[in-house]
């Protein structure tokens, strides 16, 4: 059977999309600006495209999960984002949920593997 790469790619994007908020909130205990966060995520093997991340930061700020501040002290003005108190609460809840889901899902996937070997 031929593998449809388009389907796999779009499903992978969908799979990752749900984890983006958790990922971003986890990295904003210290303040970062858009591009520094892109680099940080890349270094940690969890890259997000710049075109996805910048709007996401803004949306999270609108939802009051992030706070932002313009830093104009350097030659280039930069907009720094940091997690808000509300964001921390949301992050803790999301983290719990993620652990529960990933653990349960991992179990399911394992069982499926065993089936395949038995066949």
């Amino acid at each position: 059977m031929s593998i449809n790469n388009d389907i796999i790619n779009s499903l992978t994007v969908e799979l990752k999309r749900g984890t983006l908020v958790l990922l971003v909130l986890s990295q904003l205990n210290t303040s970062e600006y858009g591009y520094s966060l892109v680099q940080k995520l890349e270094e940690n093997n969890t890259p997000i495209e710049a075109g996805t991340l910048y709007p996401l930061l803004r949306r999270l700020e609108k939802q009051k999960l992030l706070k932002s501040q313009w830093d104009t002290s350097e030659s280039r003005p930069r907009k720094f984002y940091i997690i808000s108190d509300e964001g921390k609460l949301v992050y803790e809840e999301l983290k719990k949920e993620w652990r529960r889901i990933s653990k349960a899902l991992e179990e399911m996937i394992k069982e499926d593997n065993r089936d395949e070997i038995n066949r």
Binding site: Y33, G34, E49, A50, G51, P55, L56, R76, R78, K79
Partner: protein, 333 residues
Amino acid sequence: MKLIDRYIYAVTSYLPEEAREDVGKELKSNIEEMLPDNPSEDEVYKVLVELGNPWELASEYNTKKRYLIGPSYYDSYIYVLKMVVGICIAVFLSLEAISWIIEPQTSGYLYSDIGNMIGALISAIFEGTLQGAAWVTIIFVILERSGVATGGLPFAKKEWTPDELPEAPVNNSRKISRVETGFSMFLTILFTVLIILKPQLIAIYLHGDNGSLDITSLLNIERLQLYIPMILILTIIYVAHLIWKFVAGSWNLPLAIFSAIINGAQCVLIIGMLNDKSIFNMEFFATISRILGISYENVLMWLERSIWIAIVAIVAIYIWETISPFLKFKKII
């Protein structure tokens, strides 16, 4: 640098006014961070390719609805659009053709002037398409925004419960016949276009002595102008209600209430117009009395009676039309 400014302009032009400056500033600083000092055109180009299509980037920033007719309405929209545009073209075309045949002198056409006629017919098709499409679209946008599609009450943010489920289609007495609704749509459009654009067509046509056509209009067209804004508004609301009936497919409480209100408003308008004697062209009745050899007073008496019969009939039909959906609702019928 110019390329960056063009990119930022392209992105922010899709955004709401109040977000433009801040998003633009932030995007610019981020793009500059992604570039080395004194970047070459090529390097800028690459970064912009990475950020992707400005429209897509802007839509990530925007989370509001950015469509006129959403997926839940799309199929009904296309269906109703085709039907209404079809009806409009038919109505405009036939009225134009009739006025060309009946009153070539008054409408300025000559029988020999086929070019004129073809021109008028083409512009009738064009106008029919345009009017039909525009009104259907506006009505659907309102339906979309008010949330009727999702099955809930319009303008009310209420949790859905299984009580709101329509009956399964088999033997469903609450079902609204699409043919009936389509027919109402046709009559409504025909009547409105006739009254607004060609009221002079409702008339007695007599061959005069010199072979010309004597036309005596039933309605006093000047007086009629007074009612046209009201007729137009009620027609649009009525068509919206017919479209709602199409989309809903079966009666529900808000639809029945809306239906009762708009039908009532139409009744009041029609009865009001019938009671306004100056809306009739008295010459019309003089002509009738002349043709039929009945005295003018008798004709007027018959007019009076006919108006009363019409009013009674209209009220009776209205009461039935208003009550029947409610009865179906309570499963009495």
